[in-house]
């Protein structure tokens, strides 16, 4: 295939992996890149030393372009982003924050920077400070979308930006790929679809549930991690939403995070408090969400785990390899296009 994104990054298919904590790991990233897409490493659960090791592991597993993400709202994310820059990672995808400094540094070595956005304001700002593409996240996406859906957001951004738009949210097959391209996107990002592939490290319990659950089996609320977040509708998720912010749990879970990212807990705690109450509350929310997502993805805990998924889980019924999926999607997209070409001739 050939789009501005395949040309920019040097990949075969304009399809990228969303950076999903505990799923978009080194092997998964390499699998997606080796299959002709763009793998994105999720650095959320990693400290800077682990991030550096992960990058070198990916480089052993693939000689194809790949990327890594940085969710700037999380503690430790800026340090991870610095590692990505030092390691000259080809594509850096940042979200939930201002990444102008990342753009500046990445461009020095020819790296590309993609900003994840949910509306035209964020997208314009990202373009203004030099991002190379935006990832437009529709309401239907897993985790952090906002109200506007892909069908409306993608064409609106595509017509108002000069940089390419990558559509995220609702894409699981070739029909969706063809639709995204028709809307003016230059590529798509997939999380839910790619986490249900043979190479994905997602626990089997949740792969199975993703294949069984329907398009309406998700919850979309601020009560899971403090900002709008879409997760699989399970008893565990319903309980988490009902409970809302659990501060004592946040205290314990944030200690675990401190251990994980290699920051003394005292430093993290003070840092968070100094960031203001609303941010501290946000991070407390995130600390609990972090734990629940880990329980789902790694342990397959169907009681306490919570898994971010998109509405497109209802379109997913199998577990192909990544290479099978991409090849099939291109054929499906061409078939969908042939049908529309004939209808609209």
């Amino acid at each position: 295939m050939k789009t501005r994104i395949t040309e920019m990054v040097g990949i075969k298919y304009p399809m990228m992996l969303s950076g999903m904590s505990w799923i978009s790991t080194t092997k998964m990233v390499a699998a997606v890149s080796n299959a002709g897409g763009l793998g994105i490493l999720a650095t959320g659960p990693l400290n800077s030393a682990q991030t550096r090791v992960a990058i070198s592991e990916i480089r052993k597993l693939t000689d194809k372009p790949f990327g890594a993400n940085a969710s700037l709202m999380f503690p430790g994310a800026a340090e991870n982003a610095k590692v990505l820059l030092q390691e000259k990672v080809p594509v850096i995808n940042f979200a939930l924050g201002k990444g102008d400094w990342i753009v500046k540094e990445a461009h020095k070595y020819g790296g590309k920077v993609f900003a994840t956005v949910v509306n035209i304001r964020h997208a314009k700002r990202a373009e203004d400070y030099g991002c190379d593409a935006v990832i437009a996240t529709g309401q239907e996406a897993a985790a952090h979308g906002e109200d506007v859906t892909s069908l409306v957001l993608v064409p609106h951004l595509a017509e108002n930006l000069k940089i390419p738009v990558i559509a995220a949210g609702g894409f699981a097959d070739g029909r969706g790929l063809a639709a995204a391209l028709a809307l003016g996107a230059e590529g798509i990002a997939m999380g839910t679809r790619l986490m249900t592939t043979k190479e994905s490290p997602l626990h089997d319990n949740y792969k199975k549930m993703t294949m069984e659950k329907e398009v309406y089996d998700t919850l979309f609320s601020k009560r899971f991690d403090g900002i709008l977040c879409r997760v699989m509708k399970t008893d565990g998720a319903k309980r988490a939403m009902k409970r809302g912010l659990n501060l004592p749990a946040a205290f314990f879970n944030s200690q675990e995070i401190a251990r994980q990212i290699g920051v003394p807990y005292f430093k993290l705690f003070i840092g968070v408090l100094l960031s203001g109450w609303s941010n501290a509350r946000q991070l407390a929310f995130m600390a609990n969400a972090f734990k629940a997502i880990k329980l789902a993805t790694e342990d397959g805990d169907i009681q306490k785990g919570v898994l971010p998924v998109g509405q497109n889980q209802g379109l997913i019924h199998d577990e192909p390899t990544v290479a099978e999926l991409f090849a099939r999607m291109v054929v499906e997209a061409q078939k969908a296009q042939a049908k529309v070409n004939a209808a609209l001739a």
Binding site: M1, K2, T3, T6, P14, N119, I120, G138, Q139, E140, E146, D147, V148, T149, S150, L151, V152, L153, P155, H156, G169, G170, F171, D173, R175, G176, L177, A178, A179, A180, L181, A182, L183, G184, E186, E214, V215, Y216, F220, G310, Q311, N312, G314, L315, V330, A333, Q334, A336, Q337, K339, V340, N341, A342, A343, L344, A345
Partner: protein, 330 residues
């Protein structure tokens, strides 16, 4: 020449259908859309007696020889009763209208299978607007001719399954045999091409048709739709079990505030009255009543005639397809 299950069913040029809009889908706009090569809409709820409703159908027929849809909403309301619903169905059968867009409760549950049979015998094509596969399957089972698959982005009353068009259209299109029309998020040729790539045989638009020369609404409203962006609509009414999407406005902020403090139905009713909506359309005061438009308003930038709009959409759809084709075959 376009060739989809919908253009063939009605013998029309473009698979573009106008959706129901209370107070706006009257003979003039309806005929303008049909004359432009799409399918206009005459919304039954505008008329309280059989005579008025029949007169409106005949008036439309004087304005156009081309086919048009009638919209019947099968939901309980203060003004429109179950008796009205039956009257609308009877008049449609007698007048042998081309097609009906039903929304709300399934027709067989409101008026029995005899109503379905009567319309079939009269040659009326029946479509049900749904937000879920289960409802589409029911419509198919009782003999409907097509499905309007309505995503959460639509203005009006999207189902509280909250599924978006990008996901709902392929879900339904791959699971029923009758044609699917995408509703919600459609405003131009790009979105139409996308819907068809997802498996739709046509598209339905409502908000887009408000900002056309032929729509009989105050000019302020048309200008407002050009100004406002896709994130300037809100979902309200969840607390009373009938969610709606409308333009962000003072009145809907008030509605949401009442809902947030668990205010009752009685407090909300005066703010949501249909009569006030009629006045708002006429006076152009967007803050006076809930104006039910969808996220597609972010894609509206001008006030064309219906003919200009449909011709442009066809050209845009062709261009965006050509670009997508090139990407996939490059």
């Amino acid at each position: 020449m376009y060739n989809t299950a919908i253009t063939k069913m009605f013998g029309i040029k473009y698979p573009i259908i106008c959706g129901a809009m209370m107070w706006l889908c009257k003979p003039r706009l309806c005929a303008a859309v049909s004359e432009a090569g799409g399918m206009g809409n005459l919304t039954a709820g505008n008329y309280e007696t059989a005579d008025e409703f029949r007169a409106a159908i005949r008036e439309t027929r004087k304005l156009t020889k081309k086919p048009f849809m009638v919209a019947i909403t099968l939901l309980p309301s203060v003004r429109i009763t179950p008796e009205h619903h039956k009257m609308y169905v009877n008049v449609c059968a007698e007048e042998k209208v081309d097609g009906i867009e039903f929304s709300g409760t399934p027709l067989d549950k409101v008026a029995g299978m005899e109503a379905v049979e009567m319309l079939k015998k009269a040659g009326v094509k029946m479509f049900h607007k749904v937000g879920a596969l289960r409802h589409a399957k029911h419509a198919e089972k009782i003999g409907f001719d097509g499905i309007y698959a309505a995503g959460i982005e639509e203005g009006g009353h999207p189902l509280n399954d909250d599924v978006t068009s990008m996901v709902l259209t392929p879900k339904i299109a791959s699971s029923v045999k009758i044609p699917v029309v995408t509703v919600g998020g459609i405003a131009d040729g790009r979105t139409m091409a996308a819907a068809m790539a997802l498996g739709a045989e046509g598209v339905m638009m409502a908000s887009r048709f408000i900002a056309t020369k032929e729509c009989e609404v105050h000019d302020n409203i048309k200008q407002e739709l050009i100004r406002r962006q896709e994130f300037e609509t809100v979902i309200y009414g969840k607390s009373i079990g009938l969610q709606g999407r409308g333009l962000k406005s003072k009145v809907l902020e008030e509605v949401l505030a009442i809902e947030a403090r668990h205010g009752g139905f009685e407090e909300l009713i005066p703010l949501l009255s249909g009569q006030k909506v009629k006045e708002a359309w006429e006076t152009g005061d967007v803050d006076y009543a809930p104006l039910m438009v969808g996220q597609s308003i972010g894609l509206i930038n001008d006030i064309p005639t219906c003919k200009e709009l449909l011709e442009r959409m066809a050209a845009e759809a062709g261009e965006s397809l050509a670009k997508a084709n090139k990407a996939c075959n490059g």
